[in-house]
């Protein structure tokens, strides 16, 4: 690994942590648990396009673990990991199909993130009642994913080529 790569990975993890932190500081506008913008996924999307699947996955997992140790708790890390892994799977499937642009990939990631978290919460709280939130989260996940995907597309065009 070249030192330039090390620097870029470090930057991405740091940026993802800052965005996670910022997002956690936002006041609750949305009265549904799990509803959020998912700004951190910007970094994952950009890593996916610039660095490929393995690198993006590593950056994502390192970001989740470090963020949980720094600002969060163990249970928050579990929810975050579940959302992160399911979302990542959905995104690489969409990307491999070759049929989606960054916006579609990001929407799939956003919706899958919410679905993954609900699933873990249903097991953790031992109640199927939480499925109640799924339709609301599908709508918010689509909107948030679209916004993040469009921003990500714009950013990628402006970033210097490697």
């Amino acid at each position: 690994m070249k030192s330039k790569d090390v620097a870029e990975y470090g930057l991405m993890v740091a940026l993802a942590m800052v965005l996670s932190y910022l997002e956690a500081q936002m006041p609750v506008f949305f009265a549904v648990p799990g509803m959020k913008l998912g700004l951190t996924n910007l970094v994952v999307l950009i890593a996916l396009v610039r660095r490929g699947e393995k690198s993006a996955f590593c950056i994502n997992v390192v970001r989740i673990v470090l963020t949980a140790f720094t600002f969060g708790s163990m249970s928050a890390m579990l929810y975050s990991l579940a959302g992160g892994v399911v979302s990542f799977l959905a995104m690489i499937l969409c990307r491999r199909s070759g049929k989606f642009s960054l916006s579609g990939i990001s929407v799939a990631g956003g919706v899958a993130h919410n679905a993954g978290q609900i699933l873990v919460a249903m097991f953790a709280l031992e109640t199927s009642r939480l499925i109640y939130y799924l339709p609301f989260l599908m709508i918010s996940g689509t909107a948030a994913g679209l916004v993040v995907g469009l921003i990500g597309g714009g950013l990628l065009q402006r970033l210097p080529k490697q």
Binding site: V28, A31, V32, P33, S75, Y79, C94, S97, K99, F100, S101, S103, G104, V107, A108, V111, A121, A124, L125, E126, T127, R129, L130, Y132, Y133, L134, P135, F136, M138, I139, G141, T142, L146
Partner: protein, 120 residues
């Protein structure tokens, strides 16, 4: 955006709206308020009787208010307090959750779930 992007977005939104619409058409007024902590039913109250009660969750407390046929969480000592911001619930199936305290409050139609609570 490609065609597949639009299809994906439309499909997800349509599915969600259909489910919400169906739920709205078939919804029935609730009878009981069921409180679960960590998956176990701990309280089973009537939605028709006003009350204010403190729920002992895992690692913290939530204040539940039942008033005028609706239930809401008015206070909580968890960090995010999302449960406090959730809308009051009144129809069967509607839910308020406090993830950090593992508390789930659900309104039910008052038949099968009420019996479940009595058995507990």
């Amino acid at each position: 955006m490609k065609k597949a992007d639009k299809i994906l977005i439309l499909a997800v939104l349509t599915a969600a709206i259909v489910v919400l619409g169906f739920r709205r058409i078939t919804r029935s007024p609730g009878e009981r308020v069921i409180v679960r902590v960590d998956g176990q039913v701990t309280e089973n109250w009537s939605l028709k009787e006003d009350r204010e009660a403190v729920i002992e969750g895992k690692g913290g407390r939530n204040t539940l208010v039942i008033s005028g046929g609706t239930a809401s969480v008015t206070e909580a000592d968890c960090p995010d307090r999302i449960c406090v911001h959730e809308r009051p619930i009144r129809y069967s199936g509607e839910t308020i959750v406090c993830l950090p305290h593992r508390v789930v409050v659900t309104v039910t139609g008052g038949t099968e779930e009420a019996l479940d609570g009595v058995v507990q």
